[in-house]
């Protein structure tokens, strides 16, 4: 299904946009499709193509066929801007992106400038995974909508859960040294201090992003601190290596993570043998217990041969359709207006809403643990063929996840 037409190889950079049919509704998917982040980007692409097929089977959006246009950004902000420009030139009005807050910040800024300079060529940016809180706070834009809970919201939900866990006494924070990791650690400190003043923060570590090959020194520190719980926003190899090193050293703690479920994570946890010691906080899980969602998951796995990483992408595409129908238009300005404040029944059940003030979507949040699945009827889905899967620990309702925003949004006149 990937665009593989080499006919125009020699003319591509100059002729993009000339030869597109005007009838279908195109959504530019700007994410890494080559280089280090490609495995994640490919997974997202498959998800969106599946969702487009689903919409098209029911007649598309307002009679227009939905088409996902893959655009490779190599997780590089500059490259993403080039791709966004290409999208505009190809007459695309909607882009979606998720990997990398740096990319998201660059895109949000670009979209805002472009839309004010080039009326009629507006670009609406649907963010499905970049969780830097700034994107819907000080940097917020009318043209940006976020379906994933930002990292502060997740921390709010997580600490609301930890509040009730009396066994947690000493917490160690270890995060990647960049804006997201910093956001996780500051919020964790602030919120834990407010909700569970008795919890002691015994360590607060940041390490360089994706540069550490051996985590055993960090594990030694965690061990020396006597922590019983580790909170980490690490993703990619940083979580896999961290958990591996922990298992090697025989560290026994509970891991509260944001992204242990990312590609390769489940394999690493299974290898390390950390049965139900690793928790993850997400906006949806495969074994949610919701019949429709689990039916969808089954269908998705059967067709795409991967688990549904992004339940929020489902919400995004379905809400897009609902908003376009509500506005009865594909004009991005009208669709954006229709999305504002929209309430929506999310995939895993429960009502979410797109807050008007900052374009942040609020939804129920799930805490799940990864390990052997005892009840196959209740928890039918495993991950990465490990035989282990996510087991629901707690569901935090939408109301328990709401945080104020500092956003002062400029709306088009």
């Amino acid at each position: 299904m990937r665009k593989m037409i080499m006919t125009a190889a020699m003319a591509v950079p100059f002729l993009v946009g000339a030869a597109h049919a005007q009838d279908s509704l195109k959504i530019g998917y700007i994410d890494p499709l080559s280089g280090g982040g490609a495995s994640i980007g490919e997974g997202g692409l498959k998800t969106y193509q599946f969702l487009a097929d689903e919409l098209n089977a029911k007649g598309g959006i307002l009679g227009h066929k939905v088409e996902i246009v893959p655009m490779d950004n190599k997780t590089n902000p500059q490259e993403s801007l080039v791709q966004a420009q290409k999208a505009i030139d190809a007459g695309i009005h909607y882009i979606t992106q998720g990997n990398g807050s740096s990319v998201a910040a660059a895109l949000e800024d670009f979209v805002t400038k472009n839309n004010s300079r080039n009326p009629g060529k507006e670009l609406l940016y649907f963010n499905y995974a970049a969780v830097d809180p700034a994107l819907t706070n000080e940097k917020c834009s009318f043209w940006h909508f976020r379906w994933d809970a930002n990292s502060d919201i997740k921390m709010e939900a997580l600490t609301n859960y930890m509040k009730g866990e009396k066994s947690i006494k000493k917490v160690y924070l270890i995060n990647q040294d960049y804006s997201f990791g910093q956001a996780v650690r500051t919020e964790a400190r602030k919120m834990l201090a407010a909700k569970r003043p008795d919890i002691q923060i015994v360590g607060d570590e940041v390490h360089p992003l994706l540069k550490v090959t051996d985590f055993s020194p960090y594990i030694a520190k965690i061990k020396a601190s006597g922590a019983d719980t580790v909170v980490t926003g690490n993703w990619g190899q940083d979580i896999a290596l961290l958990l591996k090193a922990a298992a090697d050293a025989g560290l026994k703690v509970s891991w509260y993570t944001y992204y242990a479920g990312g590609a390769g994570g489940p394999t690493a946890i299974k290898q390390a043998g950390l049965d139900h010691q690793v928790y993850q906080i997400t906006e949806g899980i495969p074994n949610s217990g919701n019949k429709t969602a689990m039916g969808f998951e089954k269908e998705f796995r059967a067709k795409e041969n991967m688990s549904l990483w992004y339940p929020r992408a489902v919400n995004e595409m379905r809400m897009f359709k609902a908003a376009a129908e509500k506005a009865n238009s594909l004009d991005p300005v009208k669709v954006a207006a229709a999305l504002e404040g929209m309430k929506f029944e999310v995939l895993d059940g429960g009502e979410g809403f797109m807050r008007k003030e900052d374009h942040q979507f609020f939804q129920p949040i799930y805490i799940s643990s990864f390990g052997s699945l005892k009840d196959k009827a209740k928890d039918p889905f495993d991950e990465e063929n490990t035989g282990w899967g996510w087991h629901l620990v707690s569901k935090i309702d939408t109301a328990q996840t709401i945080l104020p925003t500092t956003c002062k949004m400029k709306r088009p006149d």
Partner: protein
Amino acid sequence: MLELIVISTLNGVLFGMLLFLLSSGLTVIFSMMGVLNFAHASFYMLGAFFGYQLTRWIGFWPALVLAPLLVGVVGMAVERYGLRNTHRHGHVAELLLTFGLAFAIEEIVSMIWGKSPVDYRIPAALDFPAFTVFSTNYPAYKIFMLAISVSIFVALLIVLKKTRVGLIVQAALTYPTMVGHLGHNVGRVFMVVFGVGSALAGLAGVIAGPSLVTQSDMASLLGPILFVVIVFGGLGSLPGAFIASLLIGLIQTFAVALNGSLASAFGPLDPSLGPSVLTDIWNVTIAQIAPILPYVLLVLILIVRPMGLLGTRET
């Protein structure tokens, strides 16, 4: 505190030995052929993936022998069909060839094995804690890695310094024509040397793969550090590489273990100053800068002593 020191030392030595295992091949190639091989980390990655694949087919122990041999063959092919033709264009051209090769190998590996990490496990026979210090387990596998690294170091030293083969090889670098006149096939000597160097990288890959993550970006992750090791130790000096590996391993682990920052030493800055470069520097912890310390060392040593710690010549 004592606990942290003991454990950090152990971790540092283990990490340092892994670095040495990786850099030994690189430094041997450099000392013999004068080629700075940018694709060396790629051979290490090939070793890990070959090891993974062969382990699935025939088990870990045969893979431990076969995978490095395979990587060695690949290395010899690169020397024979690539480097040898480029040699006449000088060392920069050779270096650039390996630079391009690193690009290509990474993509080929991710084409074949995908971009996600593969499930390459420690063999069951070595998957147990060897001993426990201060309630921290030491995996037997890490001890195994340590043992292999040390034996490679000793074996290489003996071969290079004490045997006829080592003499010929060293002579071939300095006086290729003379060695040729003496009846040795210089081309073949270089080819074998390059093959052996690559095989060493491959061996490092096979044994490091299960302990680290075996993934298509593992080469680019470790590549630059290897250069730091061999340049710091002195280009072409095997004992230098050994010392540098240990040193860098220890520095990195101890930097992580320390929590110090200027702010913790002298107290926080007056908040009225606001965010600036100064506050950034003031608040950064040693642990945060641990991974860039090797580069600081690299730059410093090159300025002070361009031939490196134990090196004898500059280029």
